[in-house]
Symmetry: C2
Subunit: 664 residues, 2 copies
């Protein structure tokens, strides 16, 4: 927790501050929770900073951002420019990854104010003899605060101003703008006001902002039905996954699976002898979080697969599920890390009245919490040593926030390239807190936002409010836990709709495959979001060549994503009106290179829907009086549109969406 | 400036915090600029505090406000209650004046969570034997953290729970709610999370929130035309001012007036020998800010008038205009407090290209700034010693913000009853900053807000946003500097309209009289807001009994204000729809005692306006199905209304407004 920020007594003001500091800096944006948490950016992005900066009296301030990468020795200043109503704006680029700090400095701009007053006096025809001498004084004072060339130029200018006899030439000398700019650089250090907080930017590598995830159970990769698959089989699938254009391959836990209270097929409480159990039931005689389930292969096999994936442009992400089975080595070796019930038995997981006897939660309330934290950190480090740089964290909202803040902070100290995805499907404040404290990306409520108002409201919150400074959405239309009613009932078009939405609303998105591309959509029972015969509890064998697979569409869409930088970020997302409630229309834009994408999606998987969209042409940078091209990257057609109002018609089975690249 | 609040490194987290603290406190409201400034209240008011408070996992937190008056020895806890979505709310009363501190504490509510889980388990028919033992353990742990009666009761309860054999009776014992409430009071101190900031409330006496000001030039109080009036004459006017129901009598500066560059009538640059000069041109041979202009009387006369005013329920407010004439003693005694031009002369006031040669601004950039600050503080102290407790500060926005923060803080350390009104007509950020740093009340843009959208937008900003936590508007329809175009052109009805608006939109308001009640409205010239023959530069002699004086209306309205507590605060201001753009409709309400006032004002001084108002009955606490009384406190009639939509008709000359007291 940060230090207490207390109200200053009047006498403390005098102790700490030179009473001649005249400038006020407030209302700084971006600033997360009073600067307690960093904003997030990726390498190469700009940080635009605004603040209200003003002084008493008539004088205008000079304002600058100062910023510093943690590895830099010095602060870099960047002047800010005045907007209206005492608001100032500036920006700087972040190039390195890791932590940047930024704050604002301001002071009364004496040279600038002197010059603008002088202009007014001259315009009013006043005698400015004394003002010119005052200007010379100002420049001499500035010269006294520096040396070398600038000092010399300022003194020379002051001399000229004092010596010149011709009044018109004197004024001309006085108004030389470059002199003022030099003098502005050397203010009286004692009078510089520095914003009271140093704010931070956490800079990730670009994948934190733009990534396409594919979730796969390696044990289902065997070419033979009924045989347990492993990393070697998984290797054979890598070209398939890569060909669809994904760049992150996420594997559920790969550790030994417990046997006691093992869940059977469809999560049944009694397992049959050949049931393989849930990968999230971690820990058996053979080992725990640093071991590999023997049927998947060896550590060597794992490393080989990771390398092979990298060669294909795929990064392997592992699952961190910090919980154990009753057989996990921790239970023996560190009984103090578990909660004991009054009868001496260890407390299994519960959400009363529900009981999960196959899982022991770790007891973060243990007096040995620090040992526990360090051990869990060593788990992360262990897999980093095997080449992993992305982790998907299972249920982070059931472990202490402080633990994650510490863990991610510790890892990032040395390895700022590591990314963490928070799988927290819980209340909004908890999800946002996890993002603030360090998670690089976060699961969202996207899976359950189906209608136009639901999608619009939610994505405005995510991308148009301060949430966007720290929370990076990663959109999943399905997961092994989530088969939504929309997918269950809407058939193949529903999968196409949700795919397009995920891949274009979110710069980060992912699918759980091959269930997704094969449009698997049978629930365990009516009203359940569980898959029937869920892969969580059994091996699957699938025909990747099955007719109707969405693999080509997925490949096409991921290709569009890579080619269009507008889709690499969520900050420019903007919704446009459509007069049909089943049609949703939104754009993403990029200035450099210029790239304007307009998406129109038919949210109805059953019926063709048509209507007029009304585009905010300003946002799209389009001249209302000129025809523009709308090239459908998905369907291939090119439309010639003019003005805001344009007609669209979308057909669920064959053309559920437009992804239009606009060109003037 | 507060201490730097910096990002904590992971290892710092562990040094400062017990890793078992599970609860997060964020989004605390009210909180001004991250707690840098206090919120404002008056004695007897409630401070309602909200925060987002949550824990990881399933457990709910226990939350409390803790608050402390600066003179209290200990913090007082007040439990908060859960709203929806992890939001919590609580409140406390402030009774003493001065500074209060408040913050929030929270921890995992083990007894509460145990009990609610137990209820779920029992409802599910589970065996709860172990859970009852766990409950006994919890109570014993709580007992171990206290002593005396509570410890005894908790142990007894735990004993009963352990010993009772009848399962049904055991459950009954377990669920006794009072036991849980006792246990909740004794959490493990190590696990209490305290919000990282201590926030402050500045509590003023009630007059800071509710006051009626009357501005008067004592030199115009003489009963004889042409004779310079003084405090003795002013005394004779006190009953007149008191009879109109005012409670603050504000006098422009009462100090010796300078002679060099003295302004003549209508501000002319050349004064005639008998011109009296502007009271704001402070300082002459006879003295400066601690002296009285001899023609006004003696210090003894002043004190006598102050006492006489107090007896009539009037408090005298003085003007603090920190500037001097060239003759002010400071110029001789402290030349270092003034800015010298390159030719050695002192810099007079300027706003280039305008020059004000009769005024020397004080040079706050002097290296002797601390001496200057202390001298100005001694001026305030001097007049406090004469019995003054309210100051109206002239142009505070042209002196350093830090100076005011220090000055007001210093005075308030010993005299929290002193009130300061900021006369800053400048840009919004500057006005709000002055309020944040300590001014008790502030002038506003009210004088220039005439139309319904202007008034609605502005007053929503003042009373419906965080501005209301620190900025107390004081509404003036006129001042000696401000005769608005609306008053110039709208005749007597314009004065009535602006009076009703000021007195009902603002709990604090004031008029510059007798110019106001006599409806003086001739400008110096077309397009000017200056009065013709302004009292700032000459003596006035007026007939207070002139026909058409608004004195009775003013008395009536001030009487209504005193009688109706809804008008004593601005926090409940709510605008209701009216279908005629010239009719503005708004309410103020009080719960205790119940008082609901609905105002409808005709903003058009020329024409009768009629239309339907659509009331937000919820806000007014009115049952839509029942008839309610609307008693016009201004006009006397009583209307019987039902439902939201009601007709009104207002006539500029005779009935420009309704002030309706609603009763069910």
């Amino acid at each position: 927790m940060p230090a207490v920020q207390d109200f200053l007594s009047p006498s403390e003001i005098l102790k700490q501050v030179d009473g001649r500091k005249r400038v006020v800096i407030e209302g700084v944006q971006p600033e997360v929770d009073c600067g307690q948490f960093p904003i997030k950016r990726v390498s190469g992005e700009a940080v635009v900073v605004e603040a209200d900066v003003f002084s008493d009296g008539h004088g205008a301030p000079f304002c600058q951002i100062v910023y510093r990468w943690d590895r830099d020795n010095a602060w870099t200043p960047v002047p800010m420019r005045a907007l209206s109503n005492d608001r100032w704006r500036g920006e700087f680029q972040v190039s390195g990854i890791g932590r940047y700090r930024y704050t604002i400095e301001a002071w009364l701009d004496e040279p600038g104010n002197w010059r603008s007053d002088l202009l007014k006096r001259i315009a009013a025809g006043q005698d400015v003899h004394l003002e010119l001498l005052a200007g010379a004084q100002l420049m001499e004072q500035a010269a006294g605060r520096t040396h070398g060339e600038d000092a010399e130029r300022l003194r020379e200018w002051a001399r000229a101003l004092r010596q010149e006899r011709d009044q018109e030439r004197r004024k001309e000398i006085a108004l030389r703008e470059n002199m003022m700019s030099i003098a502005q650089r050397y203010p009286d250090q004692r009078l510089i006001v520095r914003y009271e907080k140093e704010l931070t930017v956490w800079v990730d590598r670009e994948r934190a902002r733009f990534s396409s995830w594919y979730e796969l159970f390696p044990r289902s990769c065997s070419p033979q039905p009924g045989r347990h698959g492993g990393f070697r089989d998984c290797e054979a699938w890598l070209p398939y996954v890569a060909s669809m254009g994904f760049d992150v391959l996420y594997l559920p836990p790969i550790h030994p699976i417990g046997r006691s209270f093992r869940k059977g097929k469809n999560g049944s409480e009694t397992a049959q002898p050949d049931d393989v159990g849930s990968p999230w039931a971690i820990g058996a005689r053979e080992g725990g979080h640093k071991s590999i389930h023997s049927e998947l292969g060896t550590m060597e096999d794992f490393r080989r697969m990771v390398n092979r994936a990298n060669e294909l442009g795929l990064e392997v992400a592992l699952d961190l599920a910090f919980q154990t089975t009753p057989e996990h080595p921790y239970v023996r070796e560190h009984p103090e890390w578990f909660h004991r019930r009054p009868d001496g038995t260890i407390q299994y997981a519960e959400n009363p009245p529900k009981k999960y006897q196959d899982i022991y939660p770790l007891e973060f309330q243990t007096s040995q919490w620090l040992d526990l934290w360090n051990e869990l950190k060593s788990v992360v480090q262990f897999w980093m040593d095997q080449g992993v740089r992305i982790f998907r964290i299972d249920n982070p909202h059931t472990k202490p926030f402080l633990f994650w803040q510490w863990l991610i902070g510790e890892i990032h100290e040395r390895n700022p390239e590591v990314l963490f995805l928070a799988e927290a499907f819980t209340r909004p404040h908890l999800m946002y807190r996890l993002a603030k404290l360090g998670f690089s990306q976060s699961y969202t409520y996207f899976a359950w936002r189906n209608t136009k108002p639901e999608l619009t409201d939610y994505f405005r919150e995510l991308t148009g409010t301060s949430v966007r400074e720290y929370f990076r959405p990663n959109l999943w239309p399905n997961t092994p836990d989530i088969l939504t009613a929309f997918l269950q009932t809407g058939g193949r078009p529903a999968f196409m709709i949700r795919l397009v939405l995920a891949a274009t609303l979110g710069a980060n998105y992912g699918i759980y495959g091959p269930a997704f591309e094969l449009c698997e959509n049978t629930p365990r029972e009516l009203g359940s979001e569980e898959y029937l015969n869920s892969e969580k509890y059994e091996l699957k064998h699938r025909d990747l060549e099955a007719p109707g697979s969405l693999r080509n569409l997925i490949a096409h869409i991921n290709h569009i994503r890579r080619d269009n930088v507008a889709l690499h970020s969520d900050r420019t997302l903007h919704f446009h009106d459509a007069d049909n409630p089943e049609l949703i229309c939104y754009s993403k834009t990029s200035a450099d290179p210029p790239n304007v994408l307009l998406n129109v999606v038919n949210l109805d998987p059953f019926h063709t829907q048509a209507g007029f969209v009304s585009l905010d042409l300003d946002v799209l940078g389009i001249d209302p009086s000129r025809t523009f091209q709308a090239q459908d990257l998905l369907g291939g057609a090119t439309y010639f549109w003019r003005g805001s109002r344009n007609f669209v018609e979308l057909i669920p089975e064959s053309k559920p969406a437009h992804i239009l690249r606009l060109r003037i």
